[in-house]
């Protein structure tokens, strides 16, 4: 009996790591640029369709397609920040919100126009393979996706900790005036950060194709999911995003198993409300003044 629950929890952890990678992008963007990307989930869905098309057209495995997609998303984010978002940095939250909601509406409905409303299953050849560990059955795709998500997250951690550019970006986040005073090109670093954030969501979206079917309507749900995770983990905290992702992954899996799959996000929101009340700045977030 307990092994079934353990099995469900483990599946949830694996899915949660992919969620965590998606949320990581949001967290990085907010932590540095101080702009809340309300179109985050919509970008994830674009990545899902990109991975889906690459797989259908040239048979490229989403686990490999992840790399070119992340690269393209990095470029897109870099351009987007320069062209559009930079002029909204420091403006009131509701103005940023309207700008990005406008963008989100365009993305969702653009995808709807191109691909239609129905979900598109990628049907990977190894989609139904699984590992048997004792009495537990673990989906192969989830294991691969989770490993890839951890790898990308680790790369990002290393970049921020151990490279000069990463340190410069952290400087912008810690003290913007100070960073500008010592001669850092803040706008360039912001564009870089937005690019990195989108690269995360691009990679996560590509991985998501292996565990969920692409559909235009997923965008708002993923945006909410990413927000829930990031707020539970602590906005701006990188490790918090991963921890939050795993928490939500497990809570979704358990709620779907014990109650009904349609009720799983209810438990995520309950968790969010509890965290907001008990620790308003998230589990791993620093209290800001």
């Amino acid at each position: 009996m307990w092994s079934i629950y353990l099995n469900v929890v483990l599946q949830g952890v694996l899915t949660g790591l992919v969620y965590g990678l998606m949320a990581l992008g949001l967290s990085v963007i907010f932590g540095v640029v101080r702009v809340v990307n309300f179109a985050h989930g919509e970008f994830a869905v674009i990545a899902m369709y990109a991975a889906f098309l690459l797989f259908k057209a040239v048979g490229l495995d989403p686990l490999i397609a992840m790399a070119p997609i992340a690269l393209a998303f990095f470029a897109a984010g870099f351009v987007l920040q320069h062209a559009l978002i930079n002029s909204f940095v420091g403006r009131p939250e509701h103005e940023q919100f309207i700008l990005l909601v406008g963008l989100a509406i365009i993305i969702t409905n653009g995808l709807l126009m191109i691909f239609g409303p129905d979900a598109q299953p990628a049907q990977l050849p190894y989609a139904f393979d699984s590992y048997l560990i004792g009495t537990m059955i673990i989906d192969k795709v989830r294991v691969y996706a989770a490993i890839a998500a951890v790898a990308v997250s680790t790369a990002l951690f290393v970049f921020f900790r151990h490279t000069r550019t990463g340190t410069a970006i952290r400087a912008c986040a810690d003290n913007l005036t100070g960073a500008a005073v010592v001669g850092l090109n803040v706008k360039q670093l912001y564009a870089l950060t937005f690019g990195l954030g989108l690269a995360c969501v691009g990679a996560a979206g590509a991985l998501m194709v292996t565990i969920a079917d692409a559909a235009p309507g997923l965008g708002p749900a993923y945006t909410l999911l990413a927000f829930t995770i990031v707020i539970i983990g602590g906005l701006g905290s990188m490790s918090g995003a991963l921890v939050g992702g795993v928490l939500i992954g497990v809570s979704e899996a358990l709620a779907g198993f014990v109650f009904a799959p349609s009720m799983k996000s209810m438990f995520s929101f309950a968790l969010l409300i509890a965290v907001l009340v008990l620790r308003p700045h998230g589990l791993m977030g620093k209290k800001r003044t």
């Binding site: 907010f30 009131p92 919100f97 708002p220 927000f227 409300i273």
Partner: protein, 333 residues
Amino acid sequence: MTALWEAMNGRGKLLLALLILVLLMAPLVASRYLLSVLTLILYFVYVGQAWNLMMGYAGQLSLGHALYVGLGGYVAAILWVHYGIGPWLSIVPAVAIAAAFGAAIGWLAFRFGIEGVYFALLTIAFAEFTRIGFDHLAIAGGAGGLFIPYEEQRIGEWWNLRGNQLFFYYLAFALAAVGVLITALLSRARLGFQWLAIREDEMAARALGIDAFRAKMKAILISSGMTAVGGVFYAFYNNTLFPAQMFDMSRSIELILAPIVGGLGTIFGPVVGAFILTPLGEILIVLTDWLGINLPGVKAVFYGLTLMIIISLVPTGVWPRIARSLDLKKHGR
């Protein structure tokens, strides 16, 4: 109210009187379709006004106002469908329940210092939580929806909100007028000034002795209660309620666009915004039809684009600019 009237110069008074007159006379010439568009505009004026009080005046960004529309509509519809209690009576529990939810959110947020983005997320979370709850609530018809039956013999029972398009048009007009009046009154009341002080600098407001918690609680109570009344109207006007339609986040967004586009924290901003956005949506339908590109989604893409353009060009809203260029206020006071 008289203060608002007196603050306007002759041109302003004339314009306002003209607008009221045109709206009152509109049914004489307007087609049924035009009347339904006007009804929708006036509905958005009203709920926009309710949201404007909270965001525009008290500075609390709620992105979950669909929660109050949905609760108000559902409570009244459930009482009508299952117990035969008319909306003239059920509006009391409808408003009370929505305000209770508002109070719960406000208490949690304002007691525990949840602000800005975090507050916005809390409101979304509550709305989504309730949406999924209603999906599984048998008495509300679950995800399959709740329908208010159309009964020919009841048409004309205005106290039960059963009427034709003309009736709902004038009802929406009355709601919008009341919404504007409430905003005008509150913006010149002690509470309104307390809200402005909190919006601009909460620490400073508290230093002046303003009980910020109380003032913000009043804002969310008034706003949620007012919005619930809009929900009752919406339910009996459309006669169909689905959780995915009433509580969805896109509903909350739809509701806040008019005040933002028109101008936050102004009395006529939500009015102007609604008169821009709703017709824009209708024009886009006609336009895409005419161009032969009426794919699902085309209209929404244009809508999104318009939002981005408006917020980039006139971030403080259209109305303050119009008011300035038309020169509607008295000078030299």
